[in-house]
Symmetry: C2
Subunit: 273 residues, 2 copies
């Protein structure tokens, strides 16, 4: 089953637009796990098992594994999700981008080595840098468009000449929707911290799924995200929260606290759809 | 010693602007090494040992290691360069870019885990995504500006409104030179395949070092690169070649063939300075 088909099924089955981001920070792991050699895997797997019926996908962030040499834990985590929770797709948040011959290696890293169902990709190097990902029609390709961080405005908000006022992120949205989505496997990243930009991208990208980080620790407003980002059918969003779920509890209750936080986010989103 | 000081010393000591890119492709390794469990390390270390006195730096490309789970070989390779060839700095080509809290993890990956002296970074997410790298004043931060691939024109060449015709890559060059270089540790990537753009960036970025990939397999012209890219002092360039050096020979002679190709490139560059 393709990533897009898995995502559509998970949206419906779990009645959820929530994406749980898996960004394990060694210094914030719950006390009971600290000192365990396999704490990163154990922590993430416990979060996954506690929330899998409440989400539409999981999104491990690779830097948190790579910084501490825990690529093997990442591979096992994705396999664990696929084994124990079949039908819940995994987006590897890696924001890769390089010339075509190297992009092919990054596609191998994400899809063949780690077994991810989708990967985030940076569009700055243009079409041929994204092509090796696009060619994997069964996989999802999640292009950065308008990110949630303050610096997003430095380049992404620049207005283009002769465009009637179009900004760079709007150009990215248009280009992806019009030219890069021949296999129907593209998604766009738009931050929850900029609801107006989210509305722009929804207008430009039709029903393309939007991955929306930035609720929770980064302060994005759920109601505004749903209102500006949803499709006419009240879906089309993967609303991602990481730290506010992962670190909802810090003791033996961390997994149940994560479950409560995930359910609360799912329900808050569903009330606005 | 800072990356910039190491680079300046290596330029002078080895009379070389050549950067050898280490992009090991398992299927192109020389026949004598194939089947060796540690072939990737052995291959790259042999290339390094054969060329270290002819270069100003080495540039391992991380995807080629990550695609096959060889991060450990990458760490050992960088340690090998530092041990055996002190004073030759290492740029990790990783093109990372993410929000600040994640960028900090990527900086750990490049500098603390792998021990690189510099890293390539994608500017699409703006200032705060680059700050954790900039803050490591002793390390080099190599920002993508105008890349060597065909798709570079898709975003990087877009003309900005109200700028007098400035293109996105020119805006990046100006922003990095003016705002992001407080620690004097920035460099820019400009492809050898676009000499006019190289001249633009040299004009906008003063004497900032430019990493120039795209000679060799990608077809960039050495004479045009030096003429358009050098500083007034005839330096300021890291001209990178990977495949044309790594795969110059395919049998037992691969290291000496790589040495010959590196010396030929160094001499061709020096004739134009």
């Amino acid at each position: 089953m393709t990533f897009m088909a898995q995502l559509a099924a998970a949206w419906q089955r779990n009645e959820s637009l929530v994406c749980v981001g898996l960004d394990p920070e060694p210094e914030r792991l719950p006390a009971p796990l600290r000192g365990d050699a396999d704490a990163i895997f154990g922590f993430c797997a416990a979060i996954v098992d506690a929330t899998a019926d409440l989400v539409c996908c999981f999104k491990p962030q690779i830097a948190h594994f790579a910084a501490v040499g825990a690529e093997d834990a990442l591979t096992r985590l994705i396999a664990h999700i696929h084994d124990r929770h079949p039908g819940v797709p995994v987006i590897l948040d890696a924001k890769r981008g390089d010339i075509g011959s190297t992009a092919m290696r990054y596609a191998q890293e994400a899809f063949d080595r780690h077994g991810a169902d989708a990967v985030t990709v940076n569009p700055y190097l243009g079409r041929d840098s994204v092509q090796p990902f696009l060619d994997r029609a069964e996989k999802g390709v999640v292009l950065l468009c308008r990110t949630s961080n303050p610096g997003a405005r430095d380049l992404q908000d620049l207005v283009l000449a002769g465009s009637g006022g179009q900004r760079l992120y709007q150009h990215v949205a248009t280009t992806v929707a019009r030219d890069w989505n021949a296999n129907g496997n593209c998604l766009l990243v738009v931050g929850a911290t900029c609801p107006q930009e989210l509305a722009d991208v929804r207008r430009l990208a039709g029903d393309m799924p939007l991955l929306v980080p930035g609720v929770g620790a980064q302060g994005g407003d759920v109601e505004a995200v749903v209102r500006h980002g949803k499709t006419a059918a009240g879906s089309g969003l993967l609303i991602s929260s990481s730290r506010a779920i992962l670190y909802a509890g810090s003791g033996n209750d961390f997994a149940s606290a994560a479950r409560d936080a995930t359910r609360a986010l799912r329900d808050a989103i569903n009330r606005c759809r």
